[in-house]
């Protein structure tokens, strides 16, 4: 028996993970050099949440998926060209800053207010999805704060699976240490689920889904309201990228064991 749910996915956009990033200081705080030039993608963690939402909605006819995304509207439009063929959703764009540096409380406040005002959203059926991490700065708290502001107390992080039952209850698998999962049973929506990678592959591009999605995406983007985020006293002392080292060397005489030993030493020295 179908069990329709209303799934709201909070997803930001980030530079394509293969890009070379360089942090810099701007008058408005830290930023990424040329970020508007770099190709962007939906935050990979949140993208998993979107694909899981699409699959869950498909299994439960009558369900609906909203994608709430805060970022520069031009960049959101670009990202939609690569995302909108994946699963059916309604985009709720918020024209705001990029970069992952704004204060998580300010971001959460804007997201919560937007979700709260979504026409047709039944909060008794609400599953709030997002990534448990982010490929930008990884504050790791925004989704929880959105849930708190919406009054949702059932929260799960590092989710890899949800099994929705006919009576509206559901089982959630959350990642815990040691490569294991904690199994929780929740009696009913609403709930917050911060997704890890999930178990689903990236959906194939479906032109029909894309065409249908785009009919509502473009008008929504045109209507997106510019939003500023208050720093709330947040300031950054410094920013840096995770240290990366590349050493290219051609070795002709070392055995695989010797190479492995040298690699271990190299990694251990970090």
């Amino acid at each position: 028996m179908a069990n329709p749910v209303h799934i709201v996915v909070c997803a930001g956009i980030v530079p394509d993970p293969l890009q070379t990033l360089e942090p810099l200081s701007t008058p408005n705080g830290p930023g990424i050099k040329n970020e508007m030039v770099l190709p962007a993608v939906l935050d990979p963690w949140a993208a998993s949440a979107l694909y899981e939402a699409g699959a869950l909605a498909a299994k439960n006819p009558g369900s609906k998926v909203w994608l709430v995304s805060l970022g520069p509207k031009g960049k959101l439009q670009q990202v939609m060209m690569t995302v909108a063929q994946k699963v059916p959703f309604e985009l709720v764009p918020i024209d705001g800053p990029i970069g992952g540096f704004p204060d998580a409380h300010s971001t959460a406040a804007v997201l919560a207010a937007t979700i709260d005002a979504l026409p047709g959203l039944d909060k008794t059926k609400l599953l709030l999805f997002g990534g448990w991490e982010s490929a930008t700065r990884g504050a790791g708290v925004t989704l929880q704060l959105v849930g708190e502001r919406l009054g949702i107390t059932e929260q799960f992080q590092g989710v890899d699976e949800i099994d929705l039952r006919d009576d509206g209850s559901f089982t959630v698998l959350e990642r815990v240490e040691g490569g294991k999962h904690q199994v929780s049973v929740c009696s009913a929506a609403p709930a917050v689920l911060g997704w890890a990678t999930g178990n689903l592959p990236e959906p194939r591009n479906n032109p029909q889904v894309g065409m249908a999605n785009m009919r509502s995406i473009m008008p929504a983007l045109q209507k997106a309201k510019p939003t500023t985020l208050e720093p709330n006293g947040l300031s950054y002392i410094s920013t840096s990228l995770p240290k990366q080292q590349r050493v290219t060397r051609v070795e002709k005489n070392l055995s695989p064991d010797e190479i492995a030993a040298e690699l271990v030493d190299w990694i251990g020295a970090e």
């Binding site: 770099l38 959906p203 194939r204 479906n206």
Partner: protein
């Protein structure tokens, strides 16, 4: 796997394209249940030509949305449903930096402010430099060696500096005054964003188009590539048959190696006397210059003479201390040891370039095939239900070295023609498209330029010196005078060395050593030729594999089939040249233990070089490589 050809059925109208089929042919493959969708206009490939077409169409609609001509026939009450499918994972990926006169682009955007386009600049200083060989490894003819020696002897008088001689006068046909330096990745992104914002056009990257949908010789839309298949194309996990996008008009702008364009050439042949015989591999880096650099944005250098006489090069300066630096390795460079990456590394280290590039950092890297046959390679531009625009339609002008503006303009011409036909309520038949689009194109500056350039490069088949003379003749006389030439098919342009010749044995030894060492073939070949080893600095001088990741950001989505196939593997095993391996831009093709080339889709940057860098032919006409629609490739947007 099938190879079909019929030697008795060579076409009187040019080459026997219709007698040949790809390794996997959408027309003959087993029937599977395919979803389909109807739109008004289906487009293959998003590049400058498609940008020009869609901009023209959407601007006309935006100016008058109530115009009934723009009402969809497949969705009455809605505007035209125009869908464009692009192979690359993003519309900003997989393209190149250019300098262009931009007259067509400016006609679409009369108030264009180049500062709005990241990495865009107005053309400023232009220089043409002849590069001497500072190393002594270059394969120079006796004539050239004598000329070089004379230049060196008279160096101080002639102004030879840093092993480079600046031409005191640059012919007008080479100038790009009033033009633009652009990153095509950024330009495409800028154009695409505006198009999408109109709401009329949908552009879908990451969606390779495998073939046109034929009904006889009529085109009725496009078939997207299957997803969820294994490397051989067999259904696998999450199989999703490629959708058929049916349309009254199919616009083909998928470039020189696009699957749709190739399929049309196979089906219809080429006009009499036409052949796609001339190619070049353009490979480039985008480099961030050191802070003390004083190169001004808009600066343009054209070079020739080094690293080999046949290789032309360029340096374009973008804003924010970024430069595009690259080379063109042409098909008329008959050496079977063709390569691009190692040559590019030597090129940037030429003293005149290294002086400005030293201490720079690699930001991006990429490569693409250029179809350089111009009018000689022009296919049938229109047919029932389809029209071809851009580079794949033979629009590139090889005298002026210009392709983007010509491509854009062919898009405008088709856009205007489609609007005219829509307003007249006329169908997209061959006759109607020919009397509008072809007529516009024939009457335009694109055609005039193409005719002037038609035979400008003939001399290059006989060497660089004769080639330059031929180019000057054609350029200075507006194409009235030109050298004659017989231009062989691509596979016949590769010089073959008998396996027992000194050169043949040397190549064999080098190949065996490279295989044993795991060293790239192109690298080993050039080292054996006397080129010095590259002293990696980890920032600008890096291995080709590092360039894939640090520069090109290359990756491939799972679930698509291999798009490079070798028709007759027996030919590959006995092939002594293995030019597909040495020339592969991404080292995606390597030599396997059994002599067969091995293809790794994850490294392919979709330059299409393998299509014309193959000395073997199963039918005497086409090379032994089948280059099909594929997913993935470059992810850098700064190209």
């Amino acid at each position: 796997m099938t190879i079909r050809f019929d030697e008795d059925n060579h076409s009187a109208s040019g080459l026997a394209f219709e007698t040949w089929a790809p390794v996997t042919d959408p027309e003959t493959e087993a029937e599977i249940d395919r979803p389909s969708m109807e739109v008004d206009i289906a487009c293959a490939g998003f590049g400058p030509a498609m940008g020009g077409f869609l901009t023209t169409l959407s601007q006309a609609w935006t100016n008058n949305p109530a115009d009934p001509a723009f009402e969809s026939q497949v969705m009455p009450g809605m505007p035209l449903q125009v869908l464009c499918y692009e192979r690359a994972d993003d519309i900003s990926s997989g393209v190149s930096g250019v300098v262009t006169r931009a007259q067509g682009i400016r006609s679409s955007f009369p108030d264009l402010n180049v500062a709005e386009i990241p990495m865009g600049a107005e053309v400023g200083e232009e220089r043409v430099l002849y590069l001497l060989d500072p190393i002594g490894a270059s394969r120079r003819s006796l004539t050239l060696r004598v000329a070089d020696k004379s230049l060196r002897l008279a160096g101080s008088l002639l102004g030879v500096k840093d092993s480079a001689f600046e031409l005191p006068w640059t012919p007008a046909f080479l100038h790009k005054h009033g033009g633009l330096v652009l990153s095509m990745g950024q330009f495409n992104q800028w154009v695409g964003s505006q198009l999408m914002a109109t709401g009329m056009v949908q552009i879908w990257p990451g969606s390779p188009v495998s073939a046109p949908l034929f009904s006889g010789n009529k085109v009725e839309g496009l078939r997207l590539a299957d997803q969820g298949v294994d490397k051989d194309g067999a259904p696998s996990d999450g199989f999703m048959a490629g959708m058929d996008i049916r349309a009254k008009l199919t616009v083909v702008g998928d470039g020189p190696v696009g699957a749709v364009g190739q399929a049309l050439d196979r089906k219809l042949g080429l006009p009499k006397g036409h052949a796609k015989s001339e190619w070049a591999m353009g490979m480039k880096m985008v480099i961030e210059l050191p802070e003390e650099s004083d190169l001004k944005p808009g600066t343009v250098w054209h070079t020739f003479g080094y690293p080999e006489p046949e290789i032309f090069g360029f340096l374009y300066v973008h804003p924010d201390r970024l430069v595009s630096v690259g080379i063109f390795v042409p098909s008329w460079m008959s050496d079977p040891s063709r390569t691009a990456y190692r040559y590019l590394q030597h090129y940037i280290q030429h003293p005149v370039l290294w002086k400005v590039l030293k201490d720079g950092t690699l930001r991006s890297w990429g490569a693409k095939s250029l179809e350089e046959s111009g009018r000689h390679g022009e296919p049938f531009l229109t047919g029932d239900g389809f029209a071809r625009i851009g580079e794949g339609s033979g629009s590139t002008n090889m005298l002026t070295g210009s392709g983007v503006d010509e491509a854009w303009t062919t898009g405008i011409q088709l856009g205007e023609s489609v609007i005219e036909l829509l307003r007249a309520g006329k169908p997209f038949t061959h006759e109607n498209l020919a009397s509008t689009y072809e007529a516009r194109r024939r009457a335009s500056w694109v055609e005039r330029g193409a005719r002037e350039a038609e035979n400008a490069r003939n001399g290059f088949q006989s060497g660089m010196v004769k080639g330059m003379i031929g180019m000057a003749l054609a350029g200075l006389t507006g194409g009235k005078l030109a050298l004659g030439a017989h231009i062989p098919l691509p596979h016949k342009q590769i010089r073959l060395f008998p396996s027992n010749s000194v050169e043949g044995l040397k190549r064999k030894d080098v190949a065996e050593i490279a295989l044993a060492d795991g060293r790239p073939l192109h690298d080993a070949l050039l080292s054996a030729r006397g080129w010095p080893e590259i002293d990696f600095d980890g920032r600008l001088l890096i291995s080709q594999q590092d360039a894939l990741l640090l520069g090109g950001k290359v990756q491939a989505m799972p679930g698509f089939a291999d798009h490079v196939l070798f028709r007759d593997q027996n030919l590959c095993i006995v092939c002594p040249e293995k030019t597909c391996v040495s020339m592969c831009s991404g080292q995606a093709i390597t030599e396997g233990e059994d002599g067969l080339p091995a293809f790794e889709r994850e490294k392919c940057i979709h330059c299409g070089g393998c299509l014309w860098n193959c000395s073997q032919s199963p039918d005497g006409v086409h090379t032994n490589v089948d280059f099909q629609a594929g997913s993935g490739g470059l992810h850098s947007a700064e190209n």
